[in-house]
């Protein structure tokens, strides 16, 4: 495996694209590793947050967009709050996820992607999130039986915390319009 890259070979178009899209000044990163040190999900990522930034600088588009890291970020914003160069990595991760989907990249963490989709569809239907239909939708899409959540989930259901009937907004037309315009703008 090649371990060094000459400066001439580096492609800066990916760095420019991501910087423009996220609004973050990624060239400022000097690899202090504060982001990765404080990240709660970094141990589960295939590429750590600091390396994601370095790889963007190096033009490694495919590796970055195909990573699990962009899906494991839960936007806790610990990194962005601590970054000495004020790079908001949560915003960066959002931009990378959008780019991956637009480029048709297969999400490395399929279930995380499908869960977000199921949530958004639940809001699209009635203007408000509804746990029961959202979870059913997610399970059907992903074929994930959610074994780790089944028993506590049933307990919460029995406590009446997951009502069966959804609550809808009256202005469904307004919500529909917002969804249509926000998806078309892409």
């Amino acid at each position: 495996m090649e371990t060094t890259t000459s400066v001439e070979k580096m492609d800066s178009s990916f760095l420019e694209e991501v910087s423009k899209r996220s609004g973050e000044k990624l060239s400022l990163c000097y690899q202090c590793l504060k982001c990765t040190a404080g990240c709660p999900t970094a141990p589960y990522m295939d590429i750590r947050p600091n390396s994601i930034i370095r790889m963007i600088q190096m033009g490694m588009k495919r590796e970055v967009l195909e990573s699990s890291a962009i899906w494991f970020c839960v936007y806790c914003q610990t990194c962005g709050t601590r970054c000495p160069n004020e790079i908001h990595i949560g915003v960066l991760m959002d931009a990378l996820r959008e780019m991956a989907m637009e480029e048709g990249v297969h999400a490395k963490e399929k279930n995380i992607h499908l869960f977000h989709e199921a949530f958004i569809q639940s809001v699209r239907r009635g203007g408000r999130a509804h746990e029961v239909t959202m979870l059913m939708d997610y399970m059907l899409r992903s074929r994930d039986l959610m074994k780790g959540s089944l028993i506590p989930g049933v307990k919460l259901f029995l406590k009446g915390k997951f009502p069966l009937l959804p609550s809808f907004v009256k202005g469904k037309g307004e919500i529909k319009r917002i969804f249509e315009k926000c998806t078309k703008a892409k």
Binding site: R97, N111, F119, R128
Partner: protein
Amino acid sequence: MRFSYFPGCTDHSSSYEYGRSTEAVLEALGVDLVEIEDWNCCGAAATHSLNRLLSLCLPARNISKAQSAQAGPLVVPCAGCFSYLKRAEYALKHDEAERKEIEEIVGFTYESSLEILALMDVILNRIGLEKIQEKVKKPLKGLKPVCYYGCALVRHPKITQLDDPENPQYLDRLMKSLGAEPVDWSYKTDCCGADLAMTYADVVQKLVGKIVSMAKEAGAHCIVTSCGLCQMNLEMRQDMDLPIFYFTELMGVAFDVEKRESWWKKHLISPKGLLESLGLV
């Protein structure tokens, strides 16, 4: 005192006791809440994860409703909803091109005069701890909570502008004013794993396990939260039987408001035994 109010989708589901205790303590404090008409979901984590524009337009519709209600600042109990409304507010205030796009899609004109406030901020800085102390009938004597702020209220500080992002004090000060003895610890703002709980329960179990065991090590009787998702994760993904309260529930105990029995029934880990042992029931 009068405020616009955004209850959020979990108000009558997973955060039921947060909603009811919020209403009860604000009523006791003589605060009028005007629920914004036909509010919609703030978009939550899913939306900004996949579609930035949608994640700004969904909260913006609520901002437009609160603007036309003219019922005072918009108060938001859920930490998540608060952070997404603030995120949209930040874009509306600081990015002209984005503001125009949002206004066109949602169909309104943004007025920067509307304030968006977290419930905790309203209690500490609008109502004030003096007034809170006047209402205390049953001081929480002997109760040692750790205060858990999570992510959404304090980060990113540029956007939420609430308390210190590394060592926040709001909840600790509130607990002291109720007569409790909050314990210092190092996990106040560590993330619980949020909605990863649905897809990676094992990861969240580890993150929550660390938070709960550190609370125990600090000598706490319970954890006090201000976020529906944190409360659910902390209760659901631990095996140490440590009660997890919403801060409004403990205000309700100290104010001796009625109906609080119905809140405990909603908990997976009943806090009744703890409250009984301290003579607080």
